[in-house]
Symmetry: C2
Subunit: 360 residues, 2 copies
């Protein structure tokens, strides 16, 4: 079934207010969460709302965090998220990066003591309105095995980069550093389909096409899939995201990153606080006049989009094209939710005294 | 045959002085070039020396460049390489990034009007001695097709990131954003071996195992290999490198990047000047005390290195491990050169009035 943006937005906001989030925070978190649903990253949208609430019930999310800078220089800061929703902590930290970029050209913020921050691209895209390039990274619960490892030591650790253009829409890359994001696997699981080789290894570290392989003790594979196809590069990228997000800020890294699911407890003897993010903002005119840069971005985008396509493919895409098209479509026609997701949202409301349908 | 580091270093320096490079520049360029040979990236070392000289003969390299900052803010700069050797321009630009980081926490430098800068990792590693994280990116001649494209629009556009540790050796990732670097293909070509599927497409955009496929009008493939295995992510990474290196600085980007080989002329109607690089330096103590950070890096490295390995693999590697081990070995036992490379170096000396063997 399909739900309007406003329906899901006001419901999400109300749920978050019910658990004690200040209205402005609830609004901000709803906007971040819904941007995932709009852009087709359904695994990071309202489908996760009840998961955040369960973490709050366990005392692992602070609904009224004091998000603050604990260390800074003119171009850098470490932000302590005070255990708040990543959906709130992240845009506040990205705003710090943007403010620093206004002053000295660029701003770089590493965040500790946070939680899952939703869709990486949202935070990077905050830079676009300021004619800045935005960067957003986060670590996440360990589901990924480095090349040659049986153990899961990294999250899907995404990289998002947003770059403004002039008349063309912006360039927005937003990617897990694994061959495929976990959400892609979940789609196959629901349909009882196999996964392509190169996505998953089993618990012994062998390639498997079992789309439930991760649940059975296996792991997601770094971008590249195997050593011969460059998985050591995907591993290195995931590692860089982990280090900038967490070793730099004082958050947990690698296998110590606390799980998103509330039924799994964090490891004992944690090495830091919460999970970590990393944000960057670079003023385009700190390098060359913004108009000149954006005109060349238009030329870059136009040239790549005009590339001769391979047989069976209509055209070459620019990163962000599919998500933007879906966003326009879903804003107009609504957001489709799978039945279990809608049921989960309904049950969540019943628990907290809200009627999901009445928000429509 | 094997040659000592000093033999190849002094010879390279002398050749570069013969074409008019100031002694300090020739020394710096030799150090950068030789670091590739030491670290096993043989395709980017002395094997390329005659190629640089041919570009100089064509008037496409300026031996006495005035490398200068043309625009700056407290944390950023654009450097004009004045057509100099990338081997000289790049470390000078990286030094600008380091100096800015000393002042305001981080430094970010985009470079135009440069040439091939050798091994990406060298420049990133310059940050390590200053307890900084170093980043080094460059665009390169178009050999790579974006996902769904028959045309070659990107270079192998590497990403290098160097991160200091305390008692452990540093974390040094240095990777092409393609499944395999061109140098890996050249090894297969010399041995008349096929390439794994996912490395190369033929001129019609179909997967091929022909290791000579690129020479026959095909292309290298972005990391991931095909859409199902995430090649759109490798494409996006290569694109980000291209944009930060060239659209931000005013260098040529995409298909306009001038070829390294002197027998191919640059395209008419160029969109910028020369090729572009991008460098970053972040002071670790701009985020948290350096000692604390480096102790946690030791813990990160130790934990990952101790991961249970998969069947048939001895251990999990940390990015930079293989190159560092080779560097120690080659510094001690010398650098092996293939016969054609040694012959090429000899011929180069004969042309410029130097005897390769006499430097031994």
């Amino acid at each position: 079934m399909t739900y309007s943006y406003n329906h899901l937005f006001t419901y999400t906001q109300s749920i978050l207010e019910k658990i004690g989030c200040p209205p402005a925070d609830a609004r901000l978190a709803a906007e971040v969460l819904l941007s995932a649903d709009l852009r087709g990253v359904d695994s990071h949208g309202v489908a996760r709302l009840s998961g955040y609430v369960r973490l709050w019930e366990k005392g692992r999310i602070n609904a009224v965090p004091n998000v603050r800078i604990v260390h800074e220089t003119p171009s850098t800061a470490v932000v302590d998220g005070d255990g708040g929703l990543g959906l709130v902590v992240a845009p506040k930290a990205m705003q710090v990066a943007i403010d620093k970029a206004k002053n000295v050209g660029t701003g770089w913020v590493s965040v500790k003591n946070s939680n899952h921050y939703g869709i990486a691209g949202y935070h990077a895209m905050m830079a676009l309105d300021h004619d800045m390039i935005g960067i957003s990274l986060t670590n996440a619960s360990p589901l990924v095995s480095p090349t040659f490892s049986k153990e899961r030591l990294l999250g899907t650790n995404p990289i998002a980069v947003a770059i403004p253009a002039k008349n063309q829409p912006p360039f927005v890359a937003d990617m897990a550093t694994t061959t495929a994001a976990n959400g892609k696997l979940e789609i196959l699981q629901r349909k009882n389909l196999d996964a392509p080789l190169g996505w998953v290894q089993d618990k012994d570290g062998n390639p498997t096409s079992d789309s439930n392989g991760v649940k059975k003790g296996g792991a997601l594979l770094p971008l590249g899939g195997d050593r011969e196809h460059g998985s050591h590069k995907g591993y290195a990228l995931g590692a860089i995201v982990d280090i900038l997000s967490a070793v730099l800020s004082g958050a947990n890294y690698g296998p110590w990153v606390p799980p998103f699911v509330a039924f799994l407890d964090p490891l004992p003897n944690l090495v830091g606080e919460g999970i970590g993010h990393f944000f960057g903002a670079m003023r385009v005119d700190a390098f060359r006049p913004a108009d000149e840069f954006k005109a060349h971005m238009d030329n870059w985008i136009t040239r790549f989009r005009a590339a001769v396509p391979t047989e069976g493919n209509e055209k070459v895409l620019i990163p962000g094209d599919p998500e933007r098209e879906l966003e326009i479509e879903r804003k107009e026609n609504g957001i489709p939710l799978l039945r279990p997701v809608a049921e989960d949202l309904t049950a969540l409301g019943e628990k907290l005294g809200l009627d999901f349908q009445s928000f429509g």
